[in-house]
Amino acid sequence: MKQAAVDRPTISAWRGHRRLVRATQRTRYRGAIVVGALAVGYAFVGSNSNLFLGTTIFIAAVGAIALNALTGNLGIVSLGQAAFLATGAFTATYLGGTLHWPFLLVLLASGVAAGLVGGIVGVPSLRWRGLYIILGTFALHYIVVYGATKYEINRVGPGGFNLPPAKIFSWTITSQRDWYLFSLVLVALTVACVAKVLRGRTGRAWTAVRDRDLAASITGIDVSRAKVVGFIATSFVVGVAGATSAYFVGNVTTETFTLNLAIQYVAMIIIGGLGSVPGAVVGAAFVVYLPHMITKVVGLLPSSYPLAGWVNTNIFDLEAGLYGVFIILFLLLEPGGLVALAQRVRRYFVSWPFRDRGVIA
């Protein structure tokens, strides 16, 4: 058989490649800076209700980024998101509400508490694979929520815990704009850290574990360590998000932390794009904004239109069901999520008038 000619990378080709990588990185940073600047600018023009929405999206995005790293990059599907959020939030009620620790310290400690819980599930999950991990986190959800419910009933009753206003040194975060800016900083920090970790050695190890853990272990990656560290690190971030959200809302009850909440986060990363940091942010925005979108769309319909009345009477069920529809549609039609969809659209225009077949040259 004739040996196929192998393209050896020449020095100049290597240089060209480096130039290309640097150029891509530059565009990426430039994009991030532009988006960040726009988001900061919006704090000074947006209405209070929109800033509230923005804050909700940002806090959700922090949790979604962490879940996406765990699921999309490390390949561990978790239905325990609500449990980790609850751990963070309830730690915050104790440390911040009862012991009056300073806000930032409470955030850190809540993250540590959630990270501990993550470690507790992470270790036994080493023996499980695939489906069993999903169901293990599912069991975790019920156990944590049960514990939190007991705790809540014994201490304060069904009204839940109230939290003091968040205060960083002498700056009290009170107005919607303050909260918007604080959560924006938090999300920017999360994006930067998680993107950095994922692009480095750890991230590559995680991807290898996700794609084939046995093969990864043969190449010298400590699979157990990757999984446990992944669980702990992502749970930490989710715990911080839970605590932040607790302060933002000002009240914590277990009723918030349903299985549906955990599924909503999974919906965020599926819709946004598995394994993509910007995807998690976009997905969080999409899922949080979805109910408002329905209301907006219905508002456009003339009220005499027969469907409008039907939609209005069933608005809660529609809101509850619609993200299920989106989960199904994205998994069937665009498993890469909105990020992949955007790339597809972009490629279409870039390669116009030629038909792009999605092959990366």
Binding site: P124, G136, V325, I328
Partner: protein
């Protein structure tokens, strides 16, 4: 002592329904490797279909149940063909998440069409049952019927897998889909049968549950508590589902009797987590071996 026997008896009755639900998970998992999170919604659909065909259409009880089983089986087929089939062969994540999405969608469809109303399934047998000798516990007729139905169903399904041609093909396909398909087993057919069969099992469980309570979307939550049953028994073992179901039922009733009635939501999961740490593949499940 009397309380203990009574509690165990109630646990077995509860466990009968759990095993009916769990066997649905097992059938689908064995065939397609997917865990069906929408199983609880299949139960609810079954119960509502039974109500419609008996109370609205006016069919006799047995005929109504038969029609219900056929319709729910068809729903299972449609779900398989529309949602699961396109994703087979991909990472386990996608089809499992599809069933989660489906459960959300079905929940809201059920809630919109029934407007949250609950109904009473007209049943031919009176509710009051027999008391267990030597105890004060009464077991309702429906619990007894549930136990009998579950027992009959398990005998049928075990014989089906053991002796029928399709059942043998299904076992072959579960063991090694590629080899089975080379030997002429139609995988598409096997998978469709599995989904239809599981939906039928769900409908039976839904009707069994609904006949002792009301028909409401809540009966789907039984499926959430049957997850541990399926896993405890071993996700790929039909008899494991029966065993796991009964065990979880007994544990749940014992827990609520002796520890506190609010523990019943969490006890099965604690047992599950502990059991999974000791035997990650369940009591009767087969151990997975990784080959490079």
């Amino acid at each position: 002592m009397g309380t203990l026997i009574g509690t165990v008896a109630q646990g077995v009755a509860l466990g009968a329904i759990y095993s009916l639900v769990a066997v649905g998970f097992v059938i689908i998992y064995k065939a397609t490797g997917v865990f069906n999170f929408a199983h609880g919604q299949f139960m609810v659909l079954g119960a509502y279909f039974a109500y419609v065909s008996i109370s609205w259409v006016g069919l006799p009880f047995a005929a109504g149940i038969a029609v219900t089983l056929v319709i729910t089986g068809a729903v299972g087929l449609v779900v398989y063909a529309a949602l699961i089939r396109p994703l087979l062969g991909e990472a386990i994540f996608a089809p499992v998440m599809i069933t989660i999405g489906l459960s959300i969608v079905l929940d809201s469809i059920i809630s919109i069409t029934t407007k949250g109303n609950t109904y009473l399934l007209p049943t031919p047998v009176p509710v009051h049952g027999v008391s267990i000798p030597g105890t004060t516990t009464r077991v309702s007729n429906y619990s007894l019927i549930a136990i009998v139905v579950a027992a009959v169903f398990f005998v049928l399904i075990a014989s089906f897998f053991r002796w029928s041609g399709t059942g043998r093909d299904m076992r072959a396909a579960a063991e090694n889909p590629h080899l089975a398909s080379y030997a002429g087993v139609s995988l598409g057919f096997i998978f469709s049968v599995a989904w239809a069969l599981a939906a039928v099992a769900a409908a039976i469980a839904g009707i069994a549950q609904a006949s002792s309570t009301l028909i409401s979307p809540d009966i789907g939550s039984v499926a959430l508590r049957a997850f541990p049953a399926a896993l405890l028994g071993g996700l790929d073992s039909v008899m494991g589902a029966a065993l796991g179901g009964v065990l979880i039922g007994i544990i749940e009733m014992l827990g609520s009797q002796y520890v506190g009635s609010d523990t019943r939501d969490v006890f099965p999961y604690v047992v599950l987590l502990v059991a999974l740490m000791v035997r990650p593949y369940g009591l009767l499940g087969s151990r997975q071996v990784d080959r490079i």
